[in-house]
């Protein structure tokens, strides 16, 4: 017994080191469980208020630039509005106006938010925005910028939310080619913060540099047709006759400040239906 105590005393530092490292490793390996935990929500509330205070000061320096960006976005939206109105009038003879509007346009609503903390240089990048549960934000909601898709909410507190950005190793979003509706999946290979990779497109499909990628709408997070990126390069894999396509994100995540959280009113229903159907797989 005496020897045992002496042994532990002699190596006590080493044991403490081991215990602390095991705690850290446990934390690393249980990422998902941690992000859902109450503790994570509590820390988000604290870090959120710190980042928000800092953003309250640093935000002023970008006001002019942000204003210009919003003006450009407004102009674009105005243009789209006119086009939509035109098409409604065209359909008007066939359907009642109500039918056309109610189908897709009211399914999604958007909550404006500011990015108050962001990174693009890690292997897994997150950003924090200044809206949270009290604004109706929950996990698994999509986040878009003025030019396209940028991330997915993973953790929320009352006033703030963390989102996994496109620049996250585990971020997979279902996308399609705008010109021929071919479905694929986008991911980020962790090198360049402006470039993503599109996979699962078979090599018989015709692809050109400059083609646009849009959200498929299958993930329930992003409205169908939300822009993602422009193809800059592609090659055919030797093994499975699939393309590996490199594209540039339309949204520059390093410069972004104003974003929108996408609320899909039928997301719960769609996800429920999807999980119920899984038993037939």
């Amino acid at each position: 017994m005496r020897y045992l105590i002496a042994f532990f005393k002699r190596y006590s530092t080493f044991f403490l080191f081991l215990i602390l490292e095991i705690i850290a490793l446990f934390w690393i390996l249980n990422k998902q469980a941690y992000q859902r935990s109450v503790f994570a929500s509590g820390t988000t509330a604290i870090t959120g208020s710190v980042f928000n205070t800092v953003y309250g000061v640093s935000g002023y320096f970008n006001l002019l630039k942000d204003n210009n960006k919003l003006m450009v976005e407004n102009a674009n939206l105005r243009k789209q509005l006119i086009e939509v109105e035109k098409s409604i009038i065209r359909y008007d003879t066939l359907f009642s106006k109500q039918d056309v509007i109610s189908s897709d346009s009211t399914q999604y609503s958007f909550i404006p938010a500011y990015i108050i903390c962001n990174s693009v240089n890690k292997a897994n990048n997150f950003f924090m925005i200044d809206v949270g549960e009290k604004d109706g934000v929950t996990s698994e909601m999509g986040v878009i910028g003025p030019n396209g898709v940028i991330g997915i909410i993973v953790n929320t507190s009352k006033n703030y939310s963390w989102a996994m950005s496109l620049l996250h190793g585990r971020c997979r979003i279902s996308a399609r080619l705008k010109k021929n509706n071919m479905l694929g999946t986008i991911k980020w290979d962790g090198v360049d913060y402006r470039k993503g990779t599109l996979i699962d497109i078979p090599s018989y499909i015709d692809i050109n540099k400059g083609d646009t990628l849009v959200a498929s709408g299958f993930s329930h997070m992003f409205p169908r047709g939300t822009d993602i990126g422009i193809i800059t390069d592609y090659r055919i894999n030797s093994g499975d006759d699939m393309y590996t396509i490199t594209f540039e994100y339309l949204e520059d995540l390093k410069k972004l400040n104003n974003v929108y959280v996408v609320i899909n009113k039928s997301q719960k229903e769609q996800v429920k239906l999807k999980t119920e159907t899984k038993i037939y797989e």
Partner: protein, 168 residues
């Protein structure tokens, strides 16, 4: 830890998460300067205090960066090897209570070697855990060496800033 060190702790965590986390040069270089506190704690700091405070330091940075445990693991490792690194460069000896592992007390050459080794250990564990795969080992080595270099430069710069103030 003395109140002075606790103050340094808070300032360094805030400096790291608010300023240095958003600095990124060339896609490779991320300065992780919060390791400074592990470097400059007094020689006679009890091992368990050193380990615990380092774990807390890493954990705070983790929480603010929304990473899970990688900074805690890396910083605890750096704190664990610190006594051995000190023994390696100075031999076994007892230090006066008013001598610190700093450029002023130990000289630039000593501090340079000591800081380099600990920073390298810290960044190696950190970047390896962050990537969690060895497929792109060249890029990993690039990141570790460049980031360690810039962190070391900033740490030495900070030493001179504090040195100046202490001399007055």
């Amino acid at each position: 830890m003395s109140s002075n060190n606790i103050f340094k702790f808070i300032v360094l965590v805030l400096l790291q998460v608010l300023v240095f986390n958003s600095i990124n040069i060339n896609g490779y270089i991320d300065p992780y300067i919060y390791i400074y506190i592990v470097l400059v704690l007094p020689f006679n700091t009890k091992p368990w205090v050193l380990l615990f405070s380092s774990f807390l330091l890493g954990m705070s940075v983790d929480i603010f960066s929304n990473t899970t445990g990688i900074h805690a693991a890396a910083t605890t490792f750096a704190a664990f090897i610190r006594p051995s690194v000190i023994r390696l460069f100075t031999g076994k000896q007892n230090f006066d209570t008013n001598i610190y592992p700093s450029i002023r007390d130990m000289g630039l050459g000593w501090f340079y070697k000591y800081a380099l080794l600990i920073i390298l250990a810290h960044q190696t564990v950190l970047f390896t855990l962050e990537t969690f795969k060895f497929t792109d080992i060249l890029r990993l080595v690039y990141r570790i060496s460049f980031s360690s270099g810039i962190t070391l430069a900033i740490v030495i710069l900070m030493q001179y800033l504090f040195l100046k103030r202490q001399n007055k």
